[in-house]
Amino acid sequence: MELLCGEVDPVRRAVPDANLLHDDRVLQNLLTIEERYLPQCSYFKCVQKDIQPYMRRMVATWMLEVCEEQKCEEEVFPLAINYLDRFLAGVPTPKTHLQLLGAVCMFLASKLKETIPLTAEKLCIYTDNSIKPQELLEWELVVLGKLKWNLAAVTPHDFIEHILRKLPQPSEKLSLIRKHAQTFIALCATDFKFAMYPPSMIATGSVGAAICGLQQDEDVSSLTGDALVDLLAKITNTDVDCLKACQEQIEVVLLNSLQQYRQDQGDGSKSEDELDQASTPTDVRDIDL
């Protein structure tokens, strides 16, 4: 019974809701409230004593790996990073607790966004059992309290459909653009540079970078260059120069991590093999933790 449940993919998806996506008020409201969910300060300077920027990158990269391996919804990772940044902006944290915090943030984001959320046990295994499920649950309370239970943060993903809808792209290209933009958003979340940027700017920059990148290989857009940036900037009320700068930064981050990214892809396929093995309970090593 349990085995059966584990193997069926029971995820049910809602159809895109035109009432939400085709109404400009939704976009305007998102733009109005998004700043509320930004971290309060650049915490490496003013709050954290033990944690260094490279540690955030480490924990963010690990979180991204876990989310990818667990095939989490795309929003889970950026949302978890949002929790992480907001918590760290207020609470001095020793580095040895950082991974626990990352796990808690994924736990919460997954529960908010997914029909079948990550379990505490699973997350603890991903920390190589350096934390216990009980600790995860206890700290969940602390993180919730410190975030004042404001979990429904605005993420760049919330803007993607609104932006894509207003672009004059042929619809068959949209899914590819969407996919690339989502990858850029995840990439931005791993980099602290983007932590203080409004999500709408990251979303707009990611769509812009996605279209520019794809344009090199095939014709995905009738708009290019400045015309594209102008249109994008208008959609989300972003300053054109800020948007350009943001898009350039995204492209730099992409270049920097491209090599790393390919490596990750390699790791990803390897882990999928292991995943297949694991579902076969004949492997004794797998059972013995």
Binding site: L3, G6, M55, M58, V59, W62, E65, V66, E69, Q70, V91, P94, K95, T96, H97, L98, Q99, L100, F107, K111, P117, L118, T119, A120, E121, K122, I125, Y126, T127, D128, S130, I131, K132, P133, Q134, E135, L136, L137, E138, W139, E140, L141, V142, L144, G145, K146, K148, W149, D267, K270, S271, E274, L275, Q277, A278, S279, P281, D286, I287, L289
Partner: protein
Amino acid sequence: MERLVARRTFPLFARTSACRSLFGPVDHEELSRELQMRLAELSAEDQRRWDYNFQQDVPLRGPGRLQWTEVDSDSVPAFYRETVQVGRCRLLLAPRPRPDGAGDSPPSGPPADESLDGLGEAPASPSSGPSVAPAPAPAPAPQESSEPEAVSPPRSQEPLAEPPHSGISGRPAPGTAATATNTNAAAATAAAAATTAAAGGAAIKKLSGPLISDFFAKRKRPAPEAKASNEVPAGCAAPGAAPAVGSAEQTPRKRLR
């Protein structure tokens, strides 16, 4: 136990390169101290914000920002009333007759957990009777319903019994974490709701109904009981429901012993 837990989740995925400890071993004792400290911070914040001592379930005495007024639990919608979980159902408890002596049992002595600073600020004096009717969180049906009156008087002992949260570590890991948490959350909601209404239906002037910070503060309380009550009443559904058992639970048992 850990092994069992691991086994249950294990077949779902194998250990991959993502299974790694990033910053070395975790000092669990230090982690636990930090946890208590952070929880105490949050608790103090809640107390300040609501002028309410959530540990002892009494409004703060001093002239604060908010003024708490007692409301009869009958006068509030069912949603705010105390419920009890029996199996998968949630039953509404009959409104409890108001015990006369309720106000006569003020919290005696300082709270056991000094880490929760600010606790002592609000020793509700006996005379502040109207402040709070005995407002235990959801209690196990068998005991509570059979002996509703018994609940209130000894109640004051309850907050002192265990430092909040100490119970969590002792709790048997129930089901998957998600389930456990959900159960907790449900309990917290129930507790908060129950308290808002039943607890002498303390309602605030401008803020009515349980608010999110209530949930948090309340959630801390059921935990100690969970530990204290190793024997879960048979009526209680799952082991996961143990933490859901409200604060009142301990009281009747103490009484019965």
